[in-house]
């Protein structure tokens, strides 16, 4: 199995416990674990957009009151139910974002004509980014982009599509991916109802 296939398969397997998690705390822990996994896969983590997403989605859901009323802003009631539904939804979306980052660690190869076009696109993309750094005068912007496009389109019939070789996964890769997937299922199990029967204190968590 190739590394990209292994990465996508493990990510796809992780989606199941994320999707079926009923506990807010469980979803939060899953999201944190996914962020850590995505960062370990070489992706950047920017906290501010995630915090804003969490706050904005939670606040937007307060417009539909449900459950225990916490307080009122003017005549508008802020309820626990709507806040937790919003937070759960936002955490789910954040989890999906980072599981996607995790799955895309190695660029998957798409077969056929579309795949060839995408390879060509990335070839030119590499050319544009490389040439952009070598352009000394980046201002004014229009002549700079014009130069960039002219340079990139030169000798376009002699394209040698260079792609990173998609290496085969070794035993270490397989074991680490099994651990990642297992981690998600363990968190799901710990915060599920049947575990709360064994450890009643879990019932107290949202």
């Amino acid at each position: 199995m190739n590394r990209s296939t292994l990465q996508i398969t493990s990510g796809a397997l992780m989606i199941i416990p994320i999707l079926f998690s009923k506990s807010l705390t469980g979803t939060f822990i899953q999201a944190v674990c996914l962020i850590v996994l995505a960062v370990l896969s070489g992706r950047k983590f920017r906290p501010l957009p995630n915090i804003i997403l969490l706050l904005s989605v939670s606040l937007a859901h307060t417009l539909q009151p449900s459950g225990l009323q916490l307080f009122t802003i003017g005549s508008f009631p802020v309820t626990l139910g709507s806040l937790s539904i919003g937070a759960k939804k936002a955490l789910l979306l954040i989890s999906f974002m980072y599981v996607s980052h995790y799955m895309m660690k190695y660029r998957p190869r798409i077969p056929g004509k579309l795949g060839r076009l995408i390879s060509m696109q990335f070839f030119y993309y590499d050319r544009l980014t490389t040439n952009w750094h070598s352009i000394e005068q980046k201002r004014p912007l229009i002549p700079a982009i014009d130069t960039l496009m002219i340079e990139a389109s030169q000798n376009n019939h002699e394209i040698h599509l260079k792609e990173k070789m998609d290496e085969r996964a070794n035993l270490n890769d397989i074991v680490s991916h099994i651990v990642h997937v297992a981690l998600m299922y363990i968190i799901f199990a710990i915060f599920s109802h049947w575990f709360a029967h064994i450890v009643p204190v879990m019932e107290l968590l949202p």
Binding site: G11, A38, R43, R46, L48, P49, N50, I52, L53, S56, V57, L59, A60, H61, T62, L63, Q64, K89, L93, F96, M97, V99, S100, H101, M103, M104, R107, I110, L114, L117, I118, M120, Q121, F122, F123, Y124, Y125, R127, L128, T129, W132, L141, I142, P143, I145, D146, M149, I150, A152, S153, N156, H157, I159
Partner: protein, 179 residues
């Protein structure tokens, strides 16, 4: 003759790939600009679509659109996330509207008009998606700032595209070769 046709087709595909790469390059620049919410877009990558209206056929234009959406998702890692839905809805609706506006009004409309029409429909499509998967009924609260920011960035983008078309040597060469 057959060889010539093939090399012409190949050259056209390379032009589409170059424009798609340009869209990707611009979306990378956009990705680096901090945004208050992750799905909010300035639409810099739409510049490639606006420019391509005068140089690509309808089929090539939609191939460019497809490459733009997939390429952006691959670069940002959002291929399997909810962000792809926003990207698809926004790109598809704006591309379709920009093409219709361009075909109907031809020289009577500038890049600014095309860009505004595209941005308006892109924002509306994204608000519809957010109504169902993000904010629910609360979407109407975020609609005005979204429409306003979309309008402002569309005007800037349209002016930039118009200036690029008028001044670019690359564009003159490509459009001249097509004519």
């Amino acid at each position: 003759m057959k060889q010539q046709t093939k090399s012409h087709t190949e050259a056209r595909l390379e032009l589409v790939a170059l424009l798609a790469a340009c869209a990707l390059f611009l979306s990378t620049i956009e990705y680096m600009i901090p945004k208050p919410v992750p799905f909010m877009r300035l639409g810099l990558a739409n510049l490639a679509l606006i420019i391509s209206l005068g140089i690509l056929s309808d089929k090539e234009y939609f191939i460019l659109l497809l490459l733009k959406v997939i390429g952006q998702a691959l670069i940002t890692g959002s291929l399997f996330s909810y962000v792809i839905l926003f990207s698809l809805a926004g790109s598809l609706s704006s591309a379709l509207v920009m093409l219709i506006v361009y075909k109907v009004f031809k020289e009577k409309v500038s890049c600014v008009g095309i860009s505004i029409a595209g941005a308006l429909f892109s924002t509306l499509a994204q608000l519809t998606v957010s109504r169902f998967i993000l904010f629910g009924e609360g979407t109407y609260v975020i609609a005005p700032p979204f429409l306003l920011s979309g309008l402002v960035s569309a005007v800037i983008l349209g002016v930039f595209a118009q200036m690029f078309i008028e001044r670019s040597r690359w564009y003159q060469t490509v459009s001249g070769a097509q004519a």
